[in-house]
Symmetry: C3
């Protein structure tokens, strides 16, 4: 793959996001002693992303205990948008070759088992924004509560093109 | 390592499975927008596998709340068999060099702390089927419930031989 | 990077640990059918580490239900010390180039959402001991209970220098 491929890919992603009416959120700085993205060779590890918008957590609580599955899907989309924004800031969209793995966590009421329907919001957003490069392996899980009372959290492993 | 090593390894795995009286389940297609296996260089990421057999989830519920640890072990074995079946379909057993990491999740009743005894079912199955190539790093965790009410779920990172 | 860089790095880590007054715990053998560290190329996967000291789990229970956040932080530090001890035994500190990813799990009372404050104990310990090489991407999560009733568990993905 050439650098031009990367530049063309980045333009396509920007056009897709514009077509979806999506503006990427401003990527949040890590509040603790970690890096939001760490690159090792041709792989990037993206830290857990919660549904932050304008510095606040936009979706909080527990799916099935007030917030609905649709709230969860919207939260998962926003997590995915934050992950793309983090990648853009850290390495540039032009280096994103393929999302390799997505782990998604849903704050879930007792008995809730539809975690995949919620995390699907993140998966569809990644494919809508990144095309085939957004397709990934995935694990969806539920937990009782999430950091900062976030409704959903996702983390990514991403394959990179060589730096220009 | 040569391609012949891979072919010999695949034959050995088939012989081991036959010796164990195990027929690999038909690998399930992803029900959502993700790929069951994604390959990046010499690493494969295998999506979360639940204990599916013939299209149904064979072990459901919560260990310690009806289902026993032995049910959990059997479920973990079936998860591992599904993971091997996914690898066989996606890349072929002849490319499997080493299971690098297994993360296992157990749907657990409150107070349950024997998650490693349950996930051990998957670890032992991988070593029985794949030999030394099946040895892996591991994390075992409990969650209140799992997608599709599965009793156990596992995900793998796998090291690959070069494609022939 | 040369082998001498690695040797100098290992000496620095030993000096930092001495300055912190920390003696690394004896790395625990895996109690089940897995390896504590698996190496693939220039990446090491470190199995889930619980706060073991002298063969016993030093911090047990659930944060917020007896044990405090400070107990959780101390447990997370001990988990990180165990992870470094595992790396030292498996590959030698001189091969550690960068901690790439830390996943941290906190046994949490219902409603607890300060998982990052607990896992921060592990993150700060890694940076204090390893310097810039200890900075990592991170996901912090809560679960109802952990294996062996551990208060905290962490797992690492680590980038390695070439073997000498």
């Amino acid at each position: 793959m050439t650098t031009e491929d990367g530049a063309a890919f980045a333009r396509e992603v920007q056009e897709r996001l514009a077509g979806m009416g999506v503006e990427l959120p401003k990527p949040a700085d890590a509040s603790y002693t970690y890096d939001t993205v760490v690159v090792w060779g041709d792989i990037a590890f993206v830290s857990g992303q919660i549904p932050k918008l304008d510095g606040a957590v936009a979706f909080q609580g527990v799916v099935g205990d007030g917030p609905t599955i649709d709230d969860g899907i919207a939260a998962a989309q926003l997590c995915a948008a934050n992950a793309i924004a983090q990648l853009d800031r850290a390495v540039g969209l032009e280096r994103v070759a393929r999302v390799l793995k997505l782990n998604g966590y849903v704050a879930s009421a007792p008995g809730f088992v539809q975690h995949p329907s919620v995390i699907e919001g993140a998966s569809k957003f990644l494919v809508a924004a990144l095309g085939e490069a957004g397709r990934h392996a995935r694990t969806a899980l539920g937990v009782p509560r999430l950091p900062a009372d976030a409704l959903v959290e996702i983390e990514l492993v991403v394959g990179l093109r060589p730096a220009a």
